[in-house]
Amino acid sequence: MGTLITPLSGWGRYPVQSCELERPERYADLNPCAVNVAADMIARGQGRSYGDAALNQTGRVLLTERVNRMLDFDTELGFLRAEAGTTLAEILPVILAHGWFLPVTPGTKFVSLGGCVAADVHGKNHHHDGSFGEHVVSIELILADGRRVLCSPSEKPELFWATVGGMGLTGIIGEVTLKLVPVTSAYMRVKNHVAANLEQLFQILQDPDRDDRYAVAWIDCLATGADMGRGVAMFGHHADAEHLPQRLGNPLMANPARGKALPFDLPGWVLNHKTIGMFNDFYFRREGGKRQTFLSGYDAYFYPLDSIGQWNRMYGKRGFVQYQCVIPDATAFDGIRELLQELSATRRASFLAVLKRLGEQGRGMLSFPLAGYTLALDLPLRDDGLFKLLDRLDEIVLRHGGRVYLAKDARLSAESFHAMYPRYDEFIGVKNSVDPEYRFSSSMSLRLGIGSKAI
């Protein structure tokens, strides 16, 4: 197999590191023993984690994109078994045609199944359905010695729950079997609720009468004073086919949102405090103005940004950092308010700020979600001052008992990581038992001191 040495980054385009890549096309080559040298490695699907989770400066990066075969689809019972490189974008039209949908989906469909398991991703329905790993029936994991093992919640459960959320560090995820959820249409029924400030927004998100299967809130994080935390909460559920207007035709076929790709990097100055403020005003009025329940195709509802290919170029050449944290229910309001205050004090604008309620913590040892509220911010990287701000945000998150999401992270310190993930010892116990020589590592795992090379 040929290798390619190239500068590589995650979706945030920071950091950029020179990596040596291999791209197997056969399942048999998705194997540490097939890699030419004894270097350590990390599997990489679509490279949609934001930071350095799928980079490996000192070893190999194993691309799984060509190992993307769907192997078995039980259309009666809703089980899908596919190779880890298969993307949600490939899966969706296939399963929808038979009346099934993904049990959990992140905000982009251009992610691989393996990535979804490794990051134990969550969606807008975490408070109802938990994270991705809860719906994984089993995994075929390829271990450091080349053995293929099947693990599931009942078979080798420790290995399974170390792999779910384990950032690819227990082995190469080869195959994933997923339990799907039934739907009768490809459409969503959506209702927006406007909140004038953070307090109202929390009330709306907590209100059991308004609750729905999917819930997410957009925050105008430039609004200050009495308006601080103003935003729009968006609730939705799968629309029933029988309630759809006739003109939509086949209820299981929604017209995909067809968009254009951003063909170049926007200059860094385009997104500034002023322009983002203007956008936020516009968006607040537009989304807040939708008082009636409306129908939306699943693409537009779940993946609004997917219609702009390469939207990460919007933040200019230096890229951006996405900061996503969760704060437990008891301290969530104070914690989120403090984070927003800190952000506005530095006059750093986040183009996208999203607030979501998360349900009970799952079983993945390094999984991110815990019962509370999660805030996600996109912060363009202009100067190194950003990292100082993010360190202060870490400090606030830690003080409130929260944690930072590894799939988004590019800069968390090893110390903070260990304080945020209390089940780390359990995880590393499993890793040591299946990967004693540390064949699996990434730039992230080295930075966070995961394993024997800990600082």
Partner: protein, 245 residues
């Protein structure tokens, strides 16, 4: 009338993309190849994605004595065939030029094996007065270069063979299409220096599956390779022999 397509050498990236493009058009697919770990995976994938009938079986290009029986079995299994795509090929490496035992394998696979199975296919389609035969050759077969002339010679011979076959089968209305891909993003080219204008296997597969509906006999993929090769073919030998290509 069967709508099935036989893909010979079905595990390469181009073959997989071609099979997918035919399956997307509703054709049944028979995958022929050597890798019995990969074939069932590709077959399942095509069934799940496109809901068509897919079968697979072992095919050895170099085992020419097995070809007649192999094709008969495929025709029985698929209840007839509408076309065949010859997608196997063996690049070998530079040693092929100096060590004839390696070079012989390159010729045996790319030309002798191809000629053998194509003869069977032609004999099958000719009396039916319908069907298509698509042979994937290479732009490497257009001019001999020191870097891969054994492969180039075998592919060049294949191109000539397909040309003759086209001439023979024209009267019976059987299409014979020669495909000449340039650089394609496959395991064969991954990480190689000097690659440019690299096409995705999907775009190549889509073009190949469209070819039977179109009139072109010789297809350069992507199209601009026709002009690149036009230039390369017209460099005087006096100069060409001095180039490091």
């Amino acid at each position: 009338m069967s709508k099935s397509v036989l893909i010979l050498g079905a595990t390469s990236a181009i073959a997989r993309a071609t099979a997918a493009a035919f399956a997307a058009r509703g054709h049944g697919i028979y995958l022929a190849g050597r890798d019995m770990n990969e074939l069932p995976r590709i077959a399942s994938d095509l069934r799940v994605r496109y809901g068509v009938e897919v079968r697979y079986g072992t095919f050895e290009a170099e085992a020419t004595v097995t070809h007649a029986a192999f094709l008969q079995q495929v025709i029985v299994d698929m209840n007839g065939l509408s076309g065949v795509v010859l997608a196997f090929g063996y690049l070998g490496d530079q040693i092929a030029a100096r060590d004839f035992s390696v070079g012989a394998k390159v010729i045996a696979s790319n030309f002798t094996g191809a000629a053998s199975i194509l003869a069977e296919c032609a004999n099958h389609f000719e009396p039916l007065k319908s069907g298509f035969i698509i042979g994937i050759s290479s732009v490497a077969g257009e001019r001999g270069r020191q870097s891969n002339y054994v492969y180039g010679a075998a592919k060049g011979a294949l191109s000539l063979y397909l040309q003759g076959l086209r001439n023979r089968l024209f009267a019976s209305g059987v299409r014979v299409i020669t495909v000449k891909p340039g650089f394609v993003d496959t395991a064969m080219t991954y990480g190689l220096p000097g690659m440019f204008l690299v096409a995705s296997p999907q775009s190549i597969g889509e073009r190949i599956a469209r070819a039977p509906e179109r009139s072109a006999d010789i297809l350069y993929l992507p199209w601009f390779w026709r002009y690149i090769m036009l230039i390369i073919k017209h460099i005087p030998e006096l100069i060409f022999k001095r180039l490091k290509l």
